[in-house]
Point group: C2
Chain length 225, copies 2
DNA sequence: CTATGATTCAAACGAACGTATGAATTGTGG
DNA sequence: CCACAATTCATACGTTCGTTTGAATCATAG
């Protein structure tokens, strides 16, 4: 019998879809745009992926599988090196967010395009994408929360979870791209060429995240509750 | 001649649109949903606002006008009290982000619904919304950037702009609602009842933001560039 | 070479969308 | 109460959407 050997069309669709979803969002990108720019027939997406929903899930899975496995590997190594002792918070943050950001330097893994897609999608998606991502992320998220709990035994767990959430938001914005950044500044783009933008973004964001994570605990209002 | 006195239909449309845009996004909300839930005729939106684009702009303007004016008033007062001296960074941050968050306690000003809409929309919107928000925010943004430049004379301006950006992201996520938070945790909702969620969110987020803003400056990689 | 299954293709489907229209209804100043 | 402007209403228009269909083409195992 004949084998499935369609790496070409499939991969071209995934690449174009990734870029268009990044630029215009899920709802804002039509199948006709995707197939048109990919130079394939309109029906190709439904043939190879089944539906538009399955397509974007595959776009994410293609990158996230490796990312989350890599995060686990890094955390495994850190915990092994610590030998029973808690891992330093900054190392945990770097294992989670640094690994993500360093993906952008590897075009073979989606580079900046996928990163920006992920950043945008974490807030905006059409319900089912959030559910999908939450499911895909559950395992790795629990591992990193646990690691932070052990690394910061004096900080209430609820506080750590919130700060993890804040870090996600800051990172999401940072990578969602300069589009959103224009809201803050118009000259930022001119000051730094796009080549070193990423090189500098990583340490910048990391300093901010660690600073926020290690900030003094908040004083809840007088009444105590 | 007869006067325009349509506060009822107009306001009902705005309220419903605000809630639906918050829940399903701009593209994900149809005119038929809006007019249906508002109990008005389908044509009412086009009659009163002209188009769907104009509608969401009015949804934002109704709340943002007051918010940004209030931010300016608070900053004016802080700078007057400082009498020429720079205002403390934490006070500037509170004037910008605290004023925003305290809006959520005032249902007459949109409450949590508008806040979550704003949080979602800052990353995701259909191009023209980002352009609209960037324009609406330009003036107040410049004022607050300038204030931070004066408050932190030793920190490079580019660094401050980035950290402002990170703070926006963290805040956006925090208020975009518990939907996104579920990605981090499943039990968070049970731990705190929704009543005090906001009371505690404000100091929590504020600690994180200040911690990030005042974090040690990043060391750019060895090579110096 | 031929048979068979995998893939591509042009065309069409029904549904949902934002908007426009013109008639009916309502409220009000003169 | 009448005339006129403001508002509401039912209905339709033209587009675009994601998906389906059935035939055409391609690649390969026997």
């Amino acid at each position: 019998m004949a084998e499935a050997r369609n790496t070409d069309t499939r991969e071209r669709i995934l690449d174009v879809a990734e870029r268009l979803f990044m630029a215009h969002g899920y709802d804002g990108t039509s199948m006709r745009q995707i197939t048109g720019e990919a130079g394939v027939n309109l029906a190709a997406v439904n043939y190879h992926f089944g539906s538009k929903e399955s397509l974007i899930q595959e776009v994410f899975r293609r990158r996230l599988d490796w990312l989350n496995e890599e995060r686990m590997r890094v955390l495994d190594r850190l915990e092994a090196e610590a030998g029973g002792q808690p891992v330093k918070p900054s190392l945990i943050v770097d294992a989670f967010f640094g690994t993500l950001l360093r993906m952008a330097e590897d075009d073979a893994r989606g580079g900046m395009t996928f990163l920006r897609l992920l950043g945008r999608t974490l807030t905006e998606p059409s319900e089912f994408i959030r559910a999908f991502l939450a499911h895909e992320y559950k395992e790795v998220m629990d591992r990193f929360k646990e690691a932070l709990f052990r690394a910061l035994p004096d900080v209430p767990k609820a506080e750590i979870v919130w700060r993890f959430h804040f870090m996600l938001g800051a990172t999401s914005y940072a990578i969602a791209g300069t589009d959103a950044l224009r809201l803050v500044t118009d000259w930022q783009i001119e000051e730094e060429d796009s080549v070193d933008r990423l090189d500098r973004l990583v340490p910048r964001l990391m300093s901010f995240l660690i600073g926020g994570l290690r900030a003094p605990l908040p004083q809840f209002d007088q009444s105590g509750r």
